[in-house]
Amino acid sequence: MLEVFIFATLNGLVTGFLLFMLASGLTLIFSMMGVLNFAHASFYMLGAYFAYSLSLYFGFWTGLIFAPLIVGTLGALVERYGLRKVHASGHVAELVFTFGLAFLIEESIQFFWGRDTKNYQTPDLLDFPLFTLFGQEFSAYRGFMMAISIGIFIALYYVLTKSRVGIIIQAAITHPQTVSNLGHNVPLIFMGVFGVGTALAGLAGVIAGPVLTTFPGMATVLGSIVFVIVIIGGLGSLAGAFIASLLIGLLQSYAIASDVGMPDLLSLLGISFDRGHPLNDLWTMNLPQIAPVLPYLLLVLVLIFRPTGLLGKREE
């Protein structure tokens, strides 16, 4: 049981950190520009595909560096020539725009790369078990994923709290008008934040692609979870997004690893139902089965009882 717990924790952390790389960009974009970027996970997918193509010719490491740059540039272009134009029509229009963008990116990926699963492999350099515990290997690549994510977190934290740009961004999150009045080029900041945010998503895609398989549905699988994290964490709160990412990562991992379900609960209470009962599905439900639903349940509960999210300060 102990080994299951340890590995569940490790897996949860790997997923959690990965989710944070997506959520950090999204929460910055969301809180600054008020745009719920539906296409954020699509940039993550683009990152994986670009890295895959680059890795075919130049190896994994080139992909690791250049794919996020390409994705970030694309993101900045989308902001400059798409979102900014739509901005005049209000938030709903922006949101619908990103919604359509997500759709278009998925279709374009199928157009350029085809619909089958891509053979995007981990680099040979990291193709060894980092350590073996209770007969189970923890691959070096997962360790690498974790290291990158933590590195990004620290760098982001440092930039946002210590650098001048970071302080302007922080100010723009809470008081966009004032920052504009102070003479800062807010559109340029927006474009930069959007670019960096999407580049982070792209980086997440690069490192997740080999492990979570690179296929056209990979954005959909992750898309709304990242949304949920940003809301649970609270608008404009990077720390909140961090906590929520780890929370969701661990929650799902533990739920899958556990073996408890309604039958256990019922037998604990001394109740039993036969299989023919109309609510049989309810009585036989177990935790691993509902693991994917838990984030949404959490979302609804948080929104009902604490609409600002865990660490959020602003309501709208």
């Binding site: 029509s89 725009f97 949304f227 949404y296």
Partner: protein
């Protein structure tokens, strides 16, 4: 009497159009598409009650559609096993009733706030219910869904509704009734207040309305009409699956309402018709149709922020002032190269995708392997693009003159 007749003339025309269309288009496919349209119109209009009139952005509207549909199929089964005896004509009412109940329950906590909080709760609820529908397979039937048979129950003047054309008339009448009631709703104080709360909740509160209560009423009504659409779906297809309440369906109704034009009552109707047609016909011609749909959608959001209906309404002023003829020529001059450019772009996309040696396109046999084909098409596309660019100013000028004083606020 005459005044009433004049006022309701548009409704009479709508009814005649609904009932008359199958006489013009009578193939099985056409009836199938008309059926889809009737359902989509009710569904998209119900969504517009939320977003267009109430300012509530929902990512989970399919929940009410789907739940109404599931209950309707269960009702069909009960009729089949003679647990209940009533004509299947009333099935949409059951869907509507259940959509209303679901709306009352979910609305009781989700309408407290508008804006992002509401949007996110709707997303969460949508995902929750979609996921639970796969877990509770005795009610929802798992991924294969549940199915019934509409030919049981008392017949209606001898009709047993075995044929799709018979069910189309049922759907058309229901769609008409639902549309009429949704329009009437916009005329009630509740409907008017929904607009007020959308635009400025504080002011609405000042004149003594609880903005939460106003949102709640719109929300429940919208859930009910979505349920009616779900019931119509159940009648038409005699089956329903979890797809009908998942995020994809919620997204599609958002697209319909948005492309059609949110601010106008007729907008979602246009959106429903256009998207249904594209969905049914475009996929026949190209497997890349989803790509085109995505491109078209983005272009609409970027250049026609108020949707197709908004585009049509833009011409109201010119129409009233009798200046439409000033616009016809510039439209044609810009429109033809624009169309040519679009056709060339499609040819290029299709050619780079095809594996065949000869690609048939608009009566031309193109050779994707030869660079000459590419250069020629690229040249035409370039020329067309240039022509659009050149003539666009002219169109702009014509537009200005046609709409010259008194200029109306456009946003």
């Amino acid at each position: 009497m005459m005044a009433l007749l004049k006022k309701s003339s548009i409704w009479i025309a709508f009814l005649i159009a609904l009932l008359g269309l199958p006489l013009l288009f009578d193939s099985i496919l056409a009836i199938s598409i008309l059926n889809q349209m009737a359902i989509a119109i009710v569904f998209a209009l119900s969504y517009n009650m939320l977003l267009g009139q109430g300012g509530m952005l929902s990512f989970g509207h399919a929940v009410y559609f789907g739940l109404g549909g599931f209950l309707s199929v269960h009702a069909l089964m009960l009729i089949e096993y003679e647990t209940m005896v009533f004509s299947i004509l009333w099935i949409p009412l059951i869907g509507g009733l259940f959509g209303l109940l679901a709306g009352i329950f979910i609305g009781s906590f989700s309408t407290r706030k508008a804006g992002t909080v509401f949007a996110m709760i709707s997303l969460g609820i949508g995902e929750l219910i979609a996921a639970s529908s796969l877990i509770f397979s005795s009610f929802f039937g798992g991924e294969a869904g549940i199915s019934g048979d509409r030919t049981f129950g008392p017949t209606f003047f001898g009709f047993d509704f075995a044929q799709n054309i018979e069910i189309y008339y049922v759907a058309a009448v229901w769609a008409f009734i639902a549309t009429l009631f949704m329009w009437l709703f916009t005329q009630t104080p509740a409907g008017r207040m929904a607009n007020a709360v959308r635009d400025n909740p504080e002011r609405a509160e000042f004149i003594g309305y609880s903005s939460r209560k106003v949102r709640f009423i719109s929300f429940c009504a919208s859930g009910m009409f979505a349920g009616i659409a779900g019931g119509l779906f159940a009648l038409n297809y005699e089956f329903i699956t979890e797809e009908n309440l998942n995020a994809a369906t919620s997204g599609r109704v958002l697209l319909m309402a948005y492309i059609g034009g949110l601010g106008y009552f007729i907008g979602p109707i246009i959106g429903a018709v256009v998207l249904t047609l594209m969905n049914s016909l475009l996929s026949n011609y190209s497997e890349l149709w989803m790509l085109y749909l995505g491109i078209m959608f983005l272009l609409t959001v970027m250049f026609l922020p108020r949707g197709f209906a908004g585009f049509i309404m833009m011409h109201q002023l010119a129409w009233v002032r009798g200046n439409m003829k000033m616009l016809i020529k510039p439209y044609i001059i810009t429109g033809i190269p624009a169309l040519l450019f679009a056709l060339c772009a499609i040819a290029l996309i299709e050619m780079s995708h095809t594996e065949d040696e000869v690609f048939h396109y608009l009566g031309f046999a193109l050779n994707p392997a030869s660079p000459v084909t590419w250069i020629v098409i690229l040249a035409i596309a370039g020329g067309a693009f240039y022509a659009v660019k050149r003539s666009f100013n002219q169109l702009n000028d014509a537009w200005e003159t046609a709409n010259a004083i008194p200029k109306e606020e456009e946003s």
